[in-house]
Symmetry: D2
Subunit: 294 residues, 4 copies
Amino acid sequence: MSSHLGFNQYGKAESRVVRIVRDTAVHEIHDLNVSTALRGDFADAHTRGDQAAVLPTDSQKNTAFAYAKIHGVASPEDYALALGRRLLEACPAARQAQVEVEQYAWDRLGDHSFVRRGGAVRTAVVTVDRDGAQVLSGVQELVLMNSTDSEFKGFLRDEFTTLPEADDRILATSLVARWQHTSTDVDWNASYDSALTTLLRTFADTYSRALQETLHAMGCALLDAQPSLAEVRFSAPNKHHFLVDFSGFRVDGLTNDGEVFVAADRPYGLIEAQVVRDGAPPEGDAWLAVPGFC
Amino acid sequence: MSSHLGFNQYGKAESRVVRIVRDTAVHEIHDLNVSTALRGDFADAHTRGDQAAVLPTDSQKNTAFAYAKIHGVASPEDYALALGRRLLEACPAARQAQVEVEQYAWDRLGDHSFVRRGGAVRTAVVTVDRDGAQVLSGVQELVLMNSTDSEFKGFLRDEFTTLPEADDRILATSLVARWQHTSTDVDWNASYDSALTTLLRTFADTYSRALQETLHAMGCALLDAQPSLAEVRFSAPNKHHFLVDFSGFRVDGLTNDGEVFVAADRPYGLIEAQVVRDGAPPEGDAWLAVPGFC
Amino acid sequence: MSSHLGFNQYGKAESRVVRIVRDTAVHEIHDLNVSTALRGDFADAHTRGDQAAVLPTDSQKNTAFAYAKIHGVASPEDYALALGRRLLEACPAARQAQVEVEQYAWDRLGDHSFVRRGGAVRTAVVTVDRDGAQVLSGVQELVLMNSTDSEFKGFLRDEFTTLPEADDRILATSLVARWQHTSTDVDWNASYDSALTTLLRTFADTYSRALQETLHAMGCALLDAQPSLAEVRFSAPNKHHFLVDFSGFRVDGLTNDGEVFVAADRPYGLIEAQVVRDGAPPEGDAWLAVPGFC
Amino acid sequence: MSSHLGFNQYGKAESRVVRIVRDTAVHEIHDLNVSTALRGDFADAHTRGDQAAVLPTDSQKNTAFAYAKIHGVASPEDYALALGRRLLEACPAARQAQVEVEQYAWDRLGDHSFVRRGGAVRTAVVTVDRDGAQVLSGVQELVLMNSTDSEFKGFLRDEFTTLPEADDRILATSLVARWQHTSTDVDWNASYDSALTTLLRTFADTYSRALQETLHAMGCALLDAQPSLAEVRFSAPNKHHFLVDFSGFRVDGLTNDGEVFVAADRPYGLIEAQVVRDGAPPEGDAWLAVPGFC
């Protein structure tokens, strides 16, 4: 029998990089979770145990920390581009570097005091080749709810279908969204802020006949609002909120008219979808090995 | 040999109660995680398998959901008091009911649209007896950081001490705090908002010679600000942020002057402390079996 | 207003200590999660920012690692006793040291190769004073199921009770159990192995009219089997397995006669109970601040 | 601007299906976590809010439970194939159904008593088209360690490289592995047992010059042992165990000769690789949207 090495990549995952900017008495904080991966001609490490071409994951980690100072963190995208380019430069065998960044937001309490905001986490995935780069911006753990203006009916029924049609239900999700830029010449922070505003406003304003329809509306609105985006991808668990059945309770006049729900953990519906601009350029390897989006 | 049943309690943990108030077109949301426990004379269930005195945990859960409607959720404390009293009434064998509530905050996006805020979670623990009740309010997952004005030096050294003294370090914690009221006649929401403000302001304003000192200052400030509180308890992991060592990097002029840190996961320092008002009334069973505070 | 410092303790939590014994070509592994805490006269650190009496948590961590070599890990209890005594010796202001150990089991694949076993985690909590020590042994994440011989009926009913009586249900729990020794002159490994055997056998052999009854039987059996134990404490979530309702499925002859269940996450019943030997000596501070058991 | 719907799928994730086989007094348990997804022509749901073609995720869940009885769970692969085929049959608009199964192992304590084994979780991913099916078997959470016979040296060095070469280190990983079958006519349980044996034995027997080399050897061994496999894919975090520095401890004769390590959480190296049989048939959509392997 004979076999060959297929796709492979290696890197350092989840370096928790915290950069404090203390040029003035009013400090700033950039709080990141950084993962890097290199792809290229590393077959000798796999098949012969020869590390000559391998830039250690420890060095990748060191670079991630150093670049928080050397380059700074104007935005996760900008930082990731610089880090990815550096890794390619440092490792001749690499054809491609992918850098994933999660950024945790903090609110200011004082000149050098902060409280972590929680909620949505901003993300960036940058894939750098020797002749260019692809950038995905995104958000995760964005937990959204509409307490009405959501229905689900007219669906296909089979022998195992017992779900009643719903005219008025809760729609809730913990959204993961990523969108691909067609350029690296972007004001990343302005683009992100605008994207988040668009997503939130569209979620709130869309009457939903299914989570799919809401996501599609959000994707279209985002592509409309930012012409430099090529596509949007969503991974959206349908966080079920089931109306609690009060019918067995022996309390006069007690009803549950869409007021009391149990928030369920598992199972959950899971809707995944892309909305792509007509005529968008080829996506390249932007989405390769991106968890939940490949 | 002979043995006897010691302390025991039983209940339903982590009912995820979501109450939507939809009396007008502008909905409100109360998003709770509710745990109940009963204590009393339930020995027959343990020793003889006789359930005659046992109100099922399923019924406790049902009551938690029903009371979100019947009583409503003006505040987690108020809801928990009503629920605890009801459980005692429904279960003659119970001597005491303890109700724990976590409340997740949401921000408004529209009349019936919300985005979960994340960050700190408001808590309440209510212990109801046949002749009264004790109330603990609190907060958890309150992640705080001072990027300077923190030192740690002058400590005891033994053969295994290698820690250098620190004149300027990051101080960060994910605080769990609870405080005991001396009354149940309280404007719970106003008290909570005020407490949070006091804790945040004191954390920001205190020069810290150790996390212990910061916590103590926060506790004193809270007791000062609210005369009706008897005591405050803290459980505070010292979320270590270690300065990254740049000395081995061969980059001219590259230094790390308190700017780049690695946020460590484990191990972590863990500081637990109470600040008690002089002359406070007996605490009763308020803290009995409260995770992390007993 | 005036206030005072109440109960307090500090230490280093969750040091992940891995000791490899490589005295021969056949290696052994001891894989531990170690938490230490000191209690005593540390008021100056809280109220005056004076660390002179404080042995840093960093030094406690260093000691935990060093003692895995200096003393070794014959058992988690033996290691914890040695570590606790050392910490008391090193820190004159301390009145008491508490050491918690979790031990992860590995199975052997070869002379120096191992696969982690998963499943139940062995635990020890040791509380050392200047004149003695208390030892709790235990187990956690011990997930048990009886697929029949479990009922729940004859319980109290109120207006919110809708639960039907069950003649034949699944009983499942993820058990946390701890038991207190009356001596430190114990063959800890033999005692633990015996305790686990007793708990498993009693769980399997007991017809259950409620989880309470099963736990009580397990506690009594353990005290019977090991006369040197003073008491046993359990924290046992009732991991509900609900029979799936097939009645709405339009498939001829399809029934669900106790064969298909949904394993629910939340909420869950939570039963906590102690079984205490008559005439057991005072428990001292053995259980003080032990998560879930205080 | 105009856009179009790109790739999309929907389904029900993480149904916790527990099947008890109670045909005799000696019960058996099959404990599964089941996720299903449908792909096909569901554009109307996204763009027009029309659910006529949509089999609800609730019905998919119901089918997952019902099929644990109707078809049974001879193996996760066999169950998943039956479930996937049924879903395609029930939903004309679907082109493809993907079913993921995790199976948790239990050890027997008695005729109807079990203790959950913990450790490695068996997995299957089945992708069913109208004219065939692809099957991936696998394992996850397989935590492996070699306490010697592992080195890492001769690697590329750049300005940020500070890692010393290691002649003797711990090699540990929490392996996720999946392998693709070329047929559905397989004794799935025998194949899985054999695969696990091959992976464990090869891990133990391979002197490692990097985790890459060990994984490659494991993949080659698996393809050698089972001619009906087309390829193997690994995702392997390098669970770093750092030798604890005892040099600062002031204890005579205390050294750390590869005996005491700290098990680190984050960051971790992450190695991902495929080993593919030469001449393997096209992989089809077997790996499409499979978390961590696409």
